[in-house]
């Protein structure tokens, strides 16, 4: 096969795969601490992207309540990214308060928490639509300052293009993963989070404030969601308030493939799906969206605990 094509696919796959991984980590953190899937994660992903857009570009379009308005300031992209992610973290906390906490207090069926998070997602996305309408927003090409939009190489007469945004994605993702690994393993808070995820009752007996750690988890999860949303938005544009839905579903494929609750699993799953999509032969490019879900279906039938998950034993 064509070496340049393979290399291009590899770069593309690595880039998109690392965003999938970051996004999926948001699901994984919540799942490991509460044992449920937060279906509002896709909405937080979307909102994070829009927040960063607001901070960096600041002009709202023709529809919605905020039509024609703009923020009095503009932030450089790195700061906007940070701001957007932090705001998304806050929204994550809001989701926890609205959808999960009341049900946890009642000891309700986990299914209800799932549907409740779907309801909150509906509220968030429709609020967004109400505010800024459904049109497409794109980050302008000068957003990365003086950096060129892409680096182009000529090899064997074929063209290899590495977009600047892809490099930014790789750098940011790697930094995020290292930061997360350091946080989980080297800080007191991170270790307490792991303990709470392992066994909430014992953790609370040991004096760990379980509620506070649940809040922190949702904050970090939301921030990761917002960060990944922004990176996707910077790559492909913000295609309306519903653009996070398909990523939200794809993220589910990532975490199941990697193993529910496994952090390395989320990373592996993200990369596998990203590379799988990128290496799809061009003739089948219209089936790209199916790749993640075919993998999901197959892994569920063949090995439901995922690539890196542990097999659970049912107790009688």
């Amino acid at each position: 096969m064509n070496f340049v094509f393979l290399l291009q696919s590899f770069i593309n796959g690595l880039s998109i795969g690392s965003v999938y991984a970051i996004f999926a980590l948001g699901y994984t953190l919540v799942f490991s601490i509460l044992g449920i899937i937060n279906f509002a994660h896709g909405a937080v992903f979307t909102l994070g992207a829009y927040c960063t857009y607001a901070l960096a570009v600041g002009d709202f379009g023709l529809n919605g309540l905020l039509a024609g308005m703009s923020l009095p300031f503009r932030l450089p992209f790195p700061l906007a990214l940070l701001g957007g992610s932090l705001l998304a973290g806050g929204i994550g906390v809001l989701v926890e308060r609205l959808a999960f906490r009341p049900l946890r207090a009642k000891g309700a069926d986990p299914l209800l928490a799932l549907v409740s998070s779907l309801g909150v997602a509906l509220i968030l996305v429709n609020c967004l639509q109400f505010l800024v309408g459904a049109e497409i927003y794109s980050f302008p090409s000068g957003i990365f300052g003086s950096l060129p939009p892409a680096m182009v190489f000529k090899m064997d007469g074929k063209v290899l293009a590495v977009r600047t945004v892809q490099i930014i994605i790789l750098v940011v993702s790697l930094a995020m993963l290292l930061a997360l690994a350091w946080f989980m393993n080297r800080t007191r808070m991170g270790k307490a989070l792991q303990a709470t995820a392992e066994n909430p009752e014992t953790a609370s007996l040991l004096g760990i404030n379980v509620d506070r750690y649940i809040l922190s988890t949702f904050f970090i999860s939301g921030a990761l969601g917002g960060l990944s949303g922004t990176l996707i938005g910077a790559s492909f544009g913000l295609a309306g308030p519903y653009f996070g839905v398909s990523y939200g579903l794809k993220g589910l494929a990532v975490i199941v493939l990697g193993g529910l609750g496994s952090i390395p699993g989320a990373v592996l799953g993200g990369l596998v799906i990203g590379l799988g999509e990128a290496f799809l032969p061009p003739d089948y490019s219209s089936m790209k969206e199916a790749v993640a879900f075919v993998m999901l279906f197959v892994i569920l039938l063949a090995r439901p605990q995922g690539l890196l998950g542990r097999q659970t034993i049912q107790k009688v």
Binding site: L112, L122, L249, A290, F293
Partner: protein, 292 residues
């Protein structure tokens, strides 16, 4: 006058209630399946293709109005077969894993219909011939089906199979230990849901006049689930009550325009927190309190 203005709404409620019911049967056996919407899409495409494609022109000529029942039967058969193919492997999974497998199935199906020519790609199929002049006419399709399915559900709870379903829902392991063939029964419940969804899809294609992948979006799946949960998953009337509330609400709130979809989300969250047994459960507990 009322009927003219609200005819569409009434038919929509009945149609959505039927979709909700297709989720209700697997749920009766404790299985959370979000696959119904995929079979709804399948049934709709079958009817749309039979209604518009030149390949079926001869059929349309020969059958006339009898085309519709034939469409429904073919949709039923296709849904049952595909339901078995998907259900038998997938129903070995429990809880959230099953739900995820069904979500994956629908997503793959959506990509397939976008890619194939016969299904019209992204645009879908349109200009599906309509047997009725007004929307209200479709009550002749959906109404009897709803009546039949309500009767079916009521009878089901009083049969051997129905008790097996409920036992599996209560405690699958104990059900196995009591001799109930759980995989077989779960597949049966699942296939009933798939078959119903397929028939509803076939009836809905002419009703909506066009058919495309938007019919089986994830939002549509969530809506079906919402009808059942808010109406009450343990009651035969649950899906109808839920559909009545969630379909009528945006209409009632029409003045709010875009904000009415936010209302749907709020209703969902509030219902999960305060009405875990759904409207039917609430009514049942009110009746019990009166009787006491």
């Amino acid at each position: 006058m009322f009927l003219e203005n609200y005819g569409f709404l009434i038919v929509a409620i009945v149609q959505q209630a039927l979709l909700g019911m297709s989720l209700w049967y697997p749920l009766m056996a404790g299985q959370l399946s979000l696959a119904s919407i995929g079979f709804y899409s399948l049934g709709g495409y079958i009817a749309a293709i039979m209604g518009t494609s030149p390949a079926f022109a001869a059929w349309r000529e020969a059958l006339g109005p009898a085309l519709y029942p034939v469409e429904w039967l073919i949709a039923l058969a296709a849904s049952v077969l595909l339901g078995l193919a998907v259900g038998i492997p997938a129903l070995r999974l429990r809880g959230i894993y099953l739900a995820l497998a069904t979500i994956a199935f629908v997503q793959v199906l959506n990509v397939v219909v976008l890619v194939l020519d016969v299904t019209g790609g992204a645009v879908g199929l349109f200009g599906i011939p309509q047997p009725f002049e007004s929307r209200l006419g479709y009550l002749w399709f959906f109404g009897p089906l709803l009546a039949v399915m309500l009767l079916f559900s009521a009878r089901l709870t009083r049969t051997v199979a129905g008790r097996s379903f409920m036992a599996i829902r209560e405690d699958e392991l104990a059900a196995q230990a009591m001799g109930i063939p759980t995989t077989f029964e779960k597949v049966r419940a699942f296939v009933i849901g798939c078959g119903l969804a397929g028939v509803v899809g076939a009836m809905s294609a002419p009703f909506l006049n066009t058919w495309n992948a938007r019919q089986s979006s994830f939002d549509a799946s969530v809506a079906c689930l919402a009808y059942v949960l808010i109406g009450g998953a343990r009651s035969v009337w649950g899906p109808l009550l839920g559909a009545a509330l969630l379909v009528a609400l945006p209409e009632v709130l029409r003045p709010l325009k875009d904000a009415r979809l936010i209302m749907n989300g709020i209703v969902l969250v509030v219902a999960c927190i305060y009405l875990p047994q759904g409207i039917a459960g609430l009514l049942a507990s009110l009746r019990r309190r009166e009787a006491a």
